[in-house]
């Protein structure tokens, strides 16, 4: 009797295994990036965070049209106004894309389905990059519309005073800010902690470093090489010298690449609970 029970079972399993073998190709990175992008939009908070990119862009543009003087209705002013909320929202997106796996504990599922944490983080990195660049394109479009509407309202010709290279630098600056948030997420792996760290870095640290530079000659010379925040701000000013690129690279290594590497090592070795 036991054989009659066992036989169909065995065949079923073999069939099942044969099927799963063929389906068991290594999960491609593109699929993981797709899943990570989906995760950024599929909660209410995530959705509104994304929507806020568009909303704040439109609000900032409207504010320039309403409040700025007629001769100030230039593209660079629109770009600057839109850039302000971007520099806050994009890093938050970068942070939360990583930390929610820990803070919400969904990492238990994520890292079981993909037991290679480096790959998961890489796909999060790519997803954040995609969102950052798309956000900047949205900002570009909203800025263009703002400039056109502004010129209609004032009756003056639209002023296109931002070159392609300047815009590229702004995109780079914003994306670097976003990736800094991503790095904090990897390093701290806690939403609240990473957000606080980000604001300390952007709001508390710069005046302190400035104060130090004013009072200490040695630091004044050193600051451009170790102050990543400062080096990034240069990108928004339209032109970057060769030395400033080197300063961005040096300070970026110190504040971004090294902590990111440390974070990756910790993530790969840590327990997911």
């Amino acid at each position: 009797m036991s054989t009659t029970v066992l036989d169909p079972a065995t065949t079923e399993v073999t069939a099942g295994r044969g099927r799963s073998r063929t389906a068991s190709a290594r999960i491609p990175l593109t699929r993981l990036v797709g899943v990570e992008l989906r995760k950024m939009f599929d909660t209410r908070s995530g959705f509104w965070l994304m929507a806020s990119i568009v909303i704040t862009s439109v609000l900032a543009t409207a504010a320039i049209i309403v409040f700025a003087a007629d001769d100030q209705q230039t593209y660079d002013n629109f770009a600057a106004a839109i850039g302000v909320p971007m520099t806050v929202i994009l890093p938050m997106i970068g942070i939360l894309s990583v930390t929610s796996e820990w803070s919400q504990r969904s990492g238990l599922t994520t890292f079981t389905l993909v037991p290679h944490r480096g790959r998961v983080l890489l796909s999060k990195f790519v997803a954040a990059l995609v969102v950052g660049i798309v956000a900047m394109v949205i900002a570009l479009v909203v800025g263009v519309l703002g400039t056109l509407v502004g010129s209609l309202v004032t009756g003056l010709d639209p002023v296109w005073n931002v070159s392609v290279s300047e815009f590229a630098l702004i995109v780079l600056g914003s994306v670097l800010g976003m990736l800094f948030g991503f790095m904090l997420g990897v390093l701290i792996r806690n939403s609240a902690g990473a957000i606080v760290a980000y604001f300390i870095y952007t709001l508390v640290l710069p005046p302190l470093l400035g104060l130090l530079a004013v009072n200490q000659k040695w630091f004044a010379d050193l600051q451009p090489w170790v102050d990543y925040n400062n080096a990034q701000t240069v990108l928004f000013n339209g032109s970057v010298t060769a030395e400033q690129w080197r300063q961005l690279a040096v300070s970026g290594t110190l504040w971004f690449l090294v902590p990111l590497a440390v974070g990756l090592i910790i993530v790969r070795r840590s327990e997911v609970k």
């Binding site: 969904s106 389905l113 037991p115």
Partner: protein, 299 residues
Amino acid sequence: MITVENLTKTYGRGMTAVDDVSFTAATGRVTGFLGPNGAGKSTTMRIVVGLTPATSGSATIDGRRFVDLPNPGTDVGVLLDASAQHAGRTGREILTLVQRTMGLPKARVTEMLELVSLTDDEADRRVRNYSLGMRQRLGIGAALLGDPHVLILDEPANGLDPAGIRWMRDLLRGYANRGGTVLLSSHLLHEIEVIADDLVVIGNGRIVAQGTKAELLASAGTIARARDTAALAAALERGGLTVTHADGSVRTDATPEQVGEVALGAGLALTELRAADGAGLEEMFLELTADTQREGVAA
């Protein structure tokens, strides 16, 4: 088949969570992983699926390490903590993420929702509004979505109502009968006793007993009742058998046959005589873990 060999996990403070644990969960069988809270069940399971790095030892699924599985969800279904989900996602969305990660057809999500009896309305609710029982059902659905041949479930019966527990039991029984491997942990002794074919009992990070349920329960003893229970106990003690009393019955390590003979010799009419099944595992569980638990308290 899950093979765990000499698995050890120590933490910095000299605490050993898992201490030289070895066992196998065989194909086509339900293996119950039993132990008190903090015994190392969850840590062992997390090590098997690669969430926690082992200090030493190995764990393999059909001879392969979990991290070497190309698409693990299609080989091994895992449910470690039903509450570990983003509270802001809907149940359907959580299954969709699982389905997409594994690269399976979208229809699997609907199939799984049906399998675990979550209605369309419930599936579209956010998980923060789920009861623990609904989360467990969702978690089972996520674990089964990839049609795996191995299931690893940590306390899956937690939060389920009696009907849900029955459903889970039938589901896992059918799964194992079709040739699947099931490793499930629980501290709900009765549940494990009803469903498991094999048992692994762990206490304080160490395996204290393992074998088939039949083997382990065979030594669980006999429960007998007579109109004069005290006389029966006295007769058994005279016969050199150790006896414990519980709610008007007599419990002994002897076989029912021995007890019957003693009773016949003493001229006592038995009103009940059976192998200690129901309470047997609990007795064994408490007995086997008592030493390690005391050590735990002392340390």
